[in-house]
């Protein structure tokens, strides 16, 4: 078993699809939280195979999409004005700020590097002792241990020219915010498997109980997603609300205790602004005060005015599942991956990019 191909097997996909057609008797609206799941659903054509009664809406689980505009502006400012080596994941480099993206800053001469891992940024800092190296540390719980580890590595090696600009967000408060929104239409959630790989499943029981909400922790391959949807539809059809774990081959109930320990050593929980959604209380991480020498926000004391979002981009409604990408008047017209108005059109997890690249929506024909 290689743990990939088996979960893309067309005959198993067909079995799940026919099972879903058999058990679905009423209309249901469900949300996949993670942008990786959105891309897998759209790219593999799964949405078109589901019964008409199942509506999939796409959630806010795309970290670069919810990274607030003013933090991108800060990163661009650091790269352009403070002579730092600014590094981040590839997607983050392309997201537009209020004036520029980091990629445009790079084109204008700033030292912006795309890295695979934050641990590489620490090596970069070691190799360039006369320069400040800042890692733009975005992500959900999945990415928090790696970003935290980079701080611990720098500390252990006595590297003082390394810091992180943090934009870390958490899934359970986002689910809570979506469910409590008056416009909410979501009846059940596929929770993000890799987030739970780190944090475990404990935080989801109160969400299920308090909101009478079925939640299935789900993986990312076509068969994973179809099994997750099947488990969720069975609950909805039976009038149940339970927490189930489809992705048990990697998600343990307790998560990964070593990873949680590293997160707690470096980060503390804070309120966070979510781009397109607004502030959600206790929904993210910031570097702990005792490690603030590694916090770029503190180290560089950046004072920038908060810029306004483009009024033409409906990313907020997309990220809350209220609208589909192809319902945006700018989709595929003024807004394309090469010329994006908002982050969901850029990222490899953004719903708009998934629709643009992989779906057969009429607007592109």
């Amino acid at each position: 078993m290689k743990f990939i191909n088996e979960y893309r097997d067309a005959s198993v996909v067909k079995e799940y699809i026919s099972e879903l057609h058999r058990i679905t008797t009423r209309p249901w609206t469900i949300m996949e939280v993670c942008g990786g799941q959105t891309h897998s659903l759209v790219k593999n054509g799964i949405i078109g195979l589901l019964p008409d009664n199942i509506t999939m809406v796409h959630g806010p689980g795309c970290p670069v999409c919810v990274t607030p505009l003013h933090l991108i502006d800060k990163a661009v400012y650091l790269a352009m004005e403070r002579n730092v080596i600014l590094c981040s994941y590839g997607d983050m480099i392309r997201v537009p700020g209020s004036k520029n993206s980091l990629l445009e800053a790079k084109a204008n001469g700033a030292d912006v590097r795309i890295l695979y891992s934050p641990l590489e940024a620490v090596t970069l800092a070691k190799q360039n002792p006369d320069k400040e190296v800042v890692f733009f540390a975005v992500g959900f719980e999945t990415t928090a241990p790696a970003n935290a580890l980079s701080v611990l590595h720098a500390k252990r090696e006595g590297i003082k020219n390394y810091s992180i600009l943090t934009s870390h967000v958490l899934v359970p408060p986002a689910i809570e915010a979506i469910v409590n929104d008056q416009t909410n239409i979501v009846q059940g959630f596929l929770a993000a498997g890799h987030v739970c790989t780190i944090m475990g499943i404990g935080d989801y029981y109160p969400l299920v109980e308090k909101n009478k909400l079925p939640i299935v922790i789900t993986g990312f391959e076509p068969v994973d997603l179809l099994q997750g949807i099947t488990m969720l539809i069975k609950q909805l059809e039976n009038g149940e609300h339970k927490l189930e774990n489809q992705y048990s081959r990697v998600v343990k109930p307790e998560g990964n205790p070593e990873a949680v320990k590293v997160i707690e050593q470096v980060f503390e929980i804070t309120h966070r602004d979510w781009r397109g959604i607004g502030e959600i209380p206790y929904s993210g991480y910031e570097v702990r005060k005792e490690l603030e020498a590694y916090n770029a926000n503190v180290k560089f004391d950046i004072q920038l005015e908060k810029a306004e979002e483009s009024p033409d981009c409906i990313a907020g409604e997309i990220l809350r599942g209220i609208k589909k990408p192809n319902q945006c008047p700018q989709f595929g017209k003024r807004c394309t991956p090469l010329n994006p108005l908002g982050a969901p059109m850029v990222s490899s997890e953004g719903a708009c990019a998934a629709y643009y690249h992989f779906s057969n929506v009429d607007v592109l024909v």
């Binding site: 990415t143 890799h194 990222s347």
Partner: protein, 89 residues
């Protein structure tokens, strides 16, 4: 962004004076380095899930098979329920 890929540990080295274990992980033949700091028990030959250069979970083979048994299981349960209802009638 939360993309994590399963790969097989080929070899393990230590860095930072033996404090950090780094693995060479094969992803279908492509070898990348990954930190094993989150998985103290991981060993050569294990399949692990790697995210941005850090191995975050060991893959449980017995659990992995369950996805393929699930349909059979729910089919059998449904059959049982149908039979029970037939019996009652």
């Amino acid at each position: 962004m939360c993309l994590a890929i399963p790969g097989k540990i080929q070899s393990i080295d230590t860095i930072h004076n033996g404090m950090v274990r780094m693995a060479k992980v094969s992803f279908g033949g492509i070898i990348k380095e990954a930190s094993l700091e989150m998985l103290p028990a991981a060993d050569i030959g294990d399949y692990v899930l790697v995210h941005v250069g850090v191995a975050i979970s060991k893959i449980d083979e017995a659990e992995a098979a369950k996805t393929f048994e699930y349909l059979k299981e729910i089919g059998e349960i449904d059959e049982l329920i149908e039979h029970t209802q037939v019996d009652k009638n």
